[in-house]
Amino acid sequence: MKKEIRFWNGSIAVSEGAIVAGCRFFAGYPITPASDIAEYMALRLPQEDGIFIQMEDEIASIAALLGASWGGAKVMTSTSGPGFSLMQENVGLAAVTETPLVIAEVQRAGPSTGMPTLVGQGDVMQSRWGSHGDYETIVISPSSPQESFDLVIRAFNLAELYRVPVIFLMDECIAHMSERVVIPPKEEIEVVERIKPNVSPEKYMPFQPVNDIAPMATAGMGYRVHVTGLTHNEKGYPMTTSPEVQEWMVRHICDKIRKNEHKIRDIEEYRMEDAEIAIVAFGIVGRSAKAAVKMARRHRIKAGLIRLKTIWPFPESYFESMADSIKKFIVAEINYGQIKLEVERAVHGKASVELLPKFGGAVHQPMEIYQKIKEVKNGN
């Protein structure tokens, strides 16, 4: 097979990537600016022997994903901030029942109804802390239609590998911009399949990790699994008055992600080899920041870019070690300071961290970021 070239927007690219990854079930609810994904999946999934269903709301959409995932399917929904807010209780259920699923979250400017058609990056913390209690998610941020295709395949793979909800955190303008997308030959694309148990039903413990992750027996395989959102033991049985089981379960669902952060981590570095000032950005802002770094370099300012393709789990140790050589970080994000706090926390006071916010509705112009680089360079 040869590679193929397409001219796709991010919404199409993420949908096609999901299909390549094996997604055959999509449940969603219309919401600007994410509806294009649902519309495209409604068109494509029946052609691929998959199922599209438009649910009555976002709560139902994610509940259907959980059911379909336990039914054995690879599943995805798409939504935007308000819809994502509605999904949060079942994000927690997915985390605690270790249910693989992917949420393509096309961010718009919030809070509340906000600016439905315009860009925003205010859902960084929501995608990490949106549900109650302690849990972990994996959050991936593409900065082009090409990455929407490539990284959503990785999102599905990680969801299966770690049995965790993965949030594919897109920007409105990434979903809507059209660019060249290269589809690699099929045999070059890695697709991870769900790990199934290979022991008899009598010996099977549905939530007993084997190398961090418990093999997953879905409906109809004969394992007769009980799945509950209550605090449960390795057998899946509720243990709602045992602090020991609670500790075991919470540690497990958090640590399986935390201790593998370095494997999940995906960061693009640009001109970082001799950089003295680093811009930290993700999604669409990564592109403005790259242009700003080029401007700075033309003016002999040693600036570089750290672009986060995975946002959560946050690459703390990466930033801590970067802070040995970089003394000035500028975090450019379309919100009032979310990743900035994480960077600040990770560098343990070894470097200064400045925020360059945008409040939603517009992307940083390269010149604005360049101006900030100059300011920081001159120590203002």
């Binding site: 029946p46 052609q47 199922i51 139902a60 599943v75 109809g220 007769r224 799945v227 509950t228 049985y237």
Partner: protein
Amino acid sequence: MEIEARANPMDKYLRADRIPHIWCSGCGLGIVLNAFLHAIEELNIDLDKLAVVSGIGCTGRIAGYINTDSYHTTHGRAIPFATGLKLANPEMKVVVISGDGDLFAIGGNHFIHAARRNIDITVIGVNNYNYGMTGGQLGPTTPLGARTTTSPYGNIEHPFNLCHVAHAAGAVYVARWTVLHAIRLKNSIKEALNKRGFSFIEVIAACPTTYGRRNKMPDALDEMRFYREHSVIKHGIDPSQANIEIGKEIVVGKFVDIEKPTFNEAVEELKKKVKKK
């Protein structure tokens, strides 16, 4: 002193290591569970191909006791969970067993839309007129005038007639029984399980602990006696004529039994039509 329990013939359908259950003495849920298990036995349903989905509440605990793939989901979301499960895995027989508050208050939207789409699942809605697990609050089926912990002066809200809701929303099978009608309930569950499409059975169940004792029926037997004296079987009646009012007759029976294409069938049709070029 340890007492060794003798094996019960129905044990194979239960997660025996989870018994005793959490329900109060006098609760109607044991009868519902019993009727369901006997229905499964008489239909000879393969337990490996049966999934039971529940929401939250006393009834929500049913899933955890049945020895099959069983899912105890979030409050109100059993039906959309079951929808996804059935669509992704059409070989499974999918049953939702949950309470009136779970299915018709917080989950009411999902109920009407699953019925409208004719999702091929059976929903057994246990109606005990109140939120038992949380201490006996007002629910969407609490009769007018009834006392609950959040209607201490008597309920001033009009309740849902669940069978009427199910019928209006498009369910292909609708029946109502009380826990007194154990055999009829079991037979009705068998019919519903064999039905293609969205089938709904309302089971009026005693809740002496949090409802009965505030409404002049402190003993489960009082409620059973009330069912015996006030239930009237009216098969085929228009469900809109079967409202539940305090102290009045309880109309029970099979109200709706019709045929129409299920969502699963429609999806398969669509796939055939849209073969990839």
